[in-house]
Symmetry: C2
Subunit: 80 residues, 2 copies
């Protein structure tokens, strides 16, 4: 049984208000030295079989159709 | 300028209804061979300086106090 991670982040040109809110809050909390913050999603999928190319292709299709919105988000699939 | 990732996932013993909803939806969409799904958060932080131990310690404190809820979530800090 393999585990695969799908990281989903907003495209760089898309405004990320959640990340901005965190970034603005940090100095008020005494944390200096952090610039921009971006917030995204991380999914961990357990495969019933091996993480071969066919399985990873399936995960990419799942990411495209269910986990990410390809209009505004990029995603990356990798084996854990 | 360095980039650091903070991955935040629910602890294994905490129920993840979002992940379960995805996992249940997959067979209906024609995707077989996927077991459990867990959904978490991913943060990308830009450091103004280098990602040395001091900076990573600061990021760990930020994760603990602002990005994750240590009662129900685990987090992991790594340099991109």
């Amino acid at each position: 049984m393999a585990r695969v991670v799908v990281d989903v982040m907003l495209k760089p040109e898309i405004l990320d208000p959640q990340g901005q809110a965190i970034s603005r809050k940090l100095p008020q909390m005494g944390f200096e030295g952090i610039g921009a913050v971006r917030q995204g999603k991380r999914f961990e999928l357990e495969l019933e079989g091996e993480a071969d190319e066919e399985a990873l292709d399936r995960v990419r299709k799942i990411a495209e159709t269910l986990l990410a919105n390809p209009v505004i988000e990029n995603f990356e699939v990798r084996v854990l």
